[in-house]
Amino acid sequence: MEMKPDLTLDLKGLLCPMPVVKINQAIKNVPIGGIIEAYATDPGVMADIPAWCRSTGNELVTIEKQDKVIRFVVRRLK
């Protein structure tokens, strides 16, 4: 079962690179090990968020499509 998120972000309607910019800002507001859950609509996040997690060393717990919305969960590791 997934952990309760420390922060939930609504990134719907934001275009590139704003979802990544917002996640980068928000991750500083959760403790190491903390979880951010976010909802976005731009298909670019399907590629950008996994790539951002990989390049910053954070964990992408899940990324999934729920109808027209993309939900993803990131765990802060650093």
Binding site: C16, V21, A47
Partner: protein, 439 residues
């Protein structure tokens, strides 16, 4: 001198080619450039003048390269570079200059202050003083290639959904958004987002183009960092893909710096570059001039003005193509003043829009742009660059401008779909449907 400062200076020394030397040496300190800079125009503080920004670099340049600066530094205002100077330089080169080159155009000596600021950005990036967000976006783009297998499936899945929207819009159940189609004529490189894929797909469908969508996005944050290695790595993903698929042409989405990178820089970076690069703006203008797109400008009845992105217009030469398009697709096109090569930067270029802590800074820097837009009385501002679009949207909100910001292709698609609808319902083609004679 700290190790970091030494490293920064070593990077700077390496970048000293003839162009940069000329820019550093020939300034007459006449001050003419000041008014031409949107940052100064918005806040007339001498520190915002281009020559003053460049002085932050010239100071340590003279300490090493000016014979008097070596012996009597105080005489010529020369100074050793310090750790504190690096901080100040980061604020100037990344935060107070959008590399728009309007000052260069207006300098009687042609001093390229943006080139000096790029050299500063390169040395700051090398010593870890670049804005974190720009570095992360550049690294994420590189990771996207390394991680291709992971996201390919997700991405193609998303594209299939967009394809359904394309089929609805065009009324053609066979309309496709091809991905990785070997042998296609055109590789279309979008930005990370549906807004740059769907309108282009409608237009490719309209003219029957043989195209395929790139797996990568056109944006290149390595270029904003002035980090040649990262910039090349990001561009290489697209060049390799184009080679692999054997396309004849790369067409880029509406994006200012991507055009600079792939149209003007990349052909010099790679030995094997056997394709033409164009912006979709050039392609659309050509299709319109060839009469290949039926257009109904009454689909865009509101007053529209056009913001020339610095990278596309002043620095890229795409000055008339957007106007060919706008005159064909909207009813009331109004120029801003000044425009074309003399247009003011929106204040968010060169990566500023992606740095959250500089929001107030870029809102101030956009004041001149806000005045320009207000004077036109337009309800829609068109910008062919996502950076500019983000900044213009924020400016509209911040200053209560109440304008809608749109891409150029969105308006073309409106006019095209309206003309098609009309054609489908009218027995004879209406006389007002725009058709331009082949050039």
């Amino acid at each position: 001198m700290s190790e970091r400062v030494q490293q920064a200076l070593a990077v700077f020394e390496k970048s000293l080619d003839r162009r940069l030397l000329a820019a550093l040496e020939v300034c007459a300190r006449c001050g003419i450039c000041a008014e031409s800079c949107h940052v100064f125009a918005a806040e007339p503080d001498f520190r915002n003048a281009p020559a003053a920004k460049a002085e932050a670099v010239r100071r340590f340049y003279r300490r090493v390269h000016d014979p008097i600066g070596r012996l009597f530094p105080w005489w010529v205002g020369a100074k050793d570079l310090s750790e504190a100077d690096l901080e100040e330089l980061a604020e100037i080169a990344f935060g107070a200059c959008t590399l728009c080159r309007r000052c260069t155009m207006n300098c009687p000596m042609g001093v390229d202050t943006a080139l000096i600021m790029r050299a500063a950005r390169a040395m700051l990036t090398a010593v870890g003083k670049a804005p974190e967000m720009l570095t992360q976006l550049a690294d994420a783009a590189i990771a996207r290639e390394e991680n291709l297998e992971f996201f390919r499936e997700f991405y193609i899945d998303q594209i299939r959904e967009l394809e359904r929207e394309l089929q609805e819009q065009t009324g053609d159940p066979d309309a496709r958004i091809p991905v990785e189609k070997a042998g296609a004529e055109i590789l279309y490189v979008a930005l990370s987002g549906a807004h740059t894929i769907l309108p282009a797909a409608v237009l490719f469908h309209a003219v029957g183009a043989d195209w395929t969508l790139s797996l990568f996005e056109a944006a290149n944050y390595g270029y904003f960092l002035a980090d040649l290695q990262r910039a090349k790595a990001i561009a290489r993903r697209i060049v390799d893909e184009a080679r692999r698929l054997g396309v004849k042409e790369i067409i880029l989405a509406e994006c200012g710096h991507a055009y600079t990178v792939l149209r003007w820089e990349a052909p010099n970076w790679f030995d094997d570059f056997p394709f033409r690069v164009r912006s979709i703006i050039e392609a659309a203008a050509e299709w319109i001039q060839q009469g290949r797109l039926p257009l109904d400008p009454s689909a865009n009845p509101e007053p529209v003005t056009y913001h020339d992105s610095c990278n596309l217009g002043r620095n890229g030469g795409l000055l008339e193509e957007p106007r060919i398009i706008l005159r064909a697709v909207v009813q009331d096109f109004r120029e801003m003043s000044p425009n074309r090569a003399e247009n003011f930067c929106c204040g968010g270029g060169a990566g500023l829009v992606a740095v959250p802590e500089w929001y107030e800074k870029r809102m101030r820097a956009g004041r001149r742009k806000v005045e320009q837009i207000r004077q036109t009385g337009a309800r829609i501002v068109v910008a062919s660059c996502d950076n500019c679009r983000l900044q213009l949207g924020d400016l509209s909100e911040y200053y209560g401008l109440g304008v809608r910001v749109s891409g150029l292709m969105d308006l073309v698609v409106n006019a095209y779909l309206a003309a098609r609808r009309m054609k489908a319902t009218a027995p004879v083609a209406p006389t007002w449907v725009h058709a331009v004679e082949p050039a």
